[in-house]
Amino acid sequence: MPFIPHTEDDIADMLAAIGVDSIDALFDEIPSGLLVGALSAIPPGLAEMDVARLMQARARQDGQPLCFIGAGAYDHHIPAAVWQIATRGEYYSAYTPYQAEASQGTLQLLYEFQSMMTALTGLEASNASLYDGASALAEAVLMAVRANRRVKSHRVLVPRALHPAYRRVLRAICEPQGITILEAPFDPRGGHTPLEALEAAAGADELAAVVITQPNFFGVLEEVDGLTQWAKSRGALAIGVVNPVALALLKPPGQWGASGADIACGEAQPLGIPLASGGPYAGFLCCKMELVRQMPGRIVGRTLDLDGKPGFTLTLQAREQHIRRGKATSNICTNQGLLVTAATIHLAILGAEGLERVAEACHGNTTRLVECLTEIPGVEPLFDGPIFHEQGLRLPAPTADVLRSLADQGILGGFDLGSEYPELDPAILVCATELRTEEEIDSYAAELACLIATRR
């Protein structure tokens, strides 16, 4: 039975009650020029066999390219067991069933996810996930502005070396709420965000929060201790935007500076979530305990039931939409159930040691890739700062042409940095995860050398 609550008769009754002829008439106030009208481009339905044939043909067009692009989403190995388990009937749902009496397994899994994220970030509390890394950052900023009662400011400082898409999402969500986003430039030589750049961009006025990325969009490691200390000295909350795989090797945000970052967030895609043309992904958000009541989204807690047995349930819901309505801390009233399930299983299979080995392999492969590529005349590292698993490279030829030619050879050669940072053109951002073999790296270097030689 389809879940359509209103029958034709119900609809006719309701329209009659309000004196309107048709549902379309309810939209009369929309100017006709703005209406899309009939969706004529949608073809008639196809049989299942025809759809399968069409989709297989489309999938073949993708081919199986070698991916050397990172830039926020990463081609990692996902053990077969991850989705084998995640797609079991007990777990396989985009929606999280929250009834404690019926969902102990799901709730425990979310609790485990939260525990893993607090362990990785070195913070005390985690929510059960948000839509993606960028929206998690926007929520972190909203949370910081609400929580920072020491200063009245609604100004938030972000590095220009923060992912460009994150900066756009941040502006789209936060600026209409009266928050001013200031951007601090990166060091043209190191690729990091120097303290002086923060100071200059911040000016003398108060700041509610400072966003610190580790690594930054260019893969460069920031001097997080100094940046965190500076944020605190300005009375601002420190928000870390972190790669969860990198955290296996790097100091967790909870230990940055003398007292740690206040909030940490990021993209959970590297933890068992396939690239899938850009989503759906999952965001994570962790914070110090003192901020937990400002944290949006679902939070699962462990408690004791009436018989004194341990159990799991949603907690700290008093500020959510279904109770606080317009005064809720956020309009996020859900989580990314299925993807978090995969991320939790992925982390459980890898374990702390496995994740560390993945991180080391990524760093090693990217270092090797950069060594091979920079042997090509005219290809040089864009920045000399230390990196995690991405590196900007200056090219001696127009990047769009080079990347297109590489793609023709089945190689996704990198992200075109000039598209977001015109001053860096011609340059690309490359990444080699644990999946890339020596042969693949050599083959990329050979193709690129050939392309550049023919262009000289």
Binding site: R149, R293, A318, R319, I323, R324, K327
Partner: protein, 130 residues
């Protein structure tokens, strides 16, 4: 039956106000309000020094059921906030008119007190609600 002390003033949004006689007033929530909210688990008090307008939301009382705004009954400056509530928010459940006070104000215009409800008028509102 919830308690409505005769010597206090009240608001329709269930705050009580006590004239301290030194140019300041103390504000809390009524016995009726704490009963309706249930076990209080967290209280967010206003910053001392903050200027608040009448009926401006300036504190939050969170129970296991809901987080509710507490409004400044009259305009003024916040001169004190009950720090005890940070660790023992249930002081409001135990003694809404005593240890469970929330903040103190220096009214802009002391005459504003006269516009608040007296115990009889507030009792009538409580009776209506229950």
């Amino acid at each position: 039956m919830s308690e409505v002390p005769a010597d206090l003033r009240y608001t329709r949004s269930h705050e009580w106000v006590k004239d301290n006689g030194d140019g300041t007033v103390t504000v809390g929530i009524t016995d009726h309000a704490q009963e309706a909210l249930g076990d209080i688990v967290f209280v967010e008090t206003p910053e001392v020094g903050r200027q608040v307008g009448a009926e401006e939301a300036c504190a939050v009382v969170e129970s296991v059921k809901a987080a509710s705004d507490i409004y400044a009954p009259i305009a003024g400056e916040v001169v004190d906030a009950n720090q005890v509530l940070a660790d023992t928010p249930d002081a409001i459940n135990q003694g809404p008119y005593g240890d469970g006070w929330i903040f103190a104000l220096r009214p802009k215009d002391p005459g504003d007190m006269d516009h608040l409800l007296d115990a009889t008028a507030y009792q009538a509102i409580v009776d209506e609600e229950s």
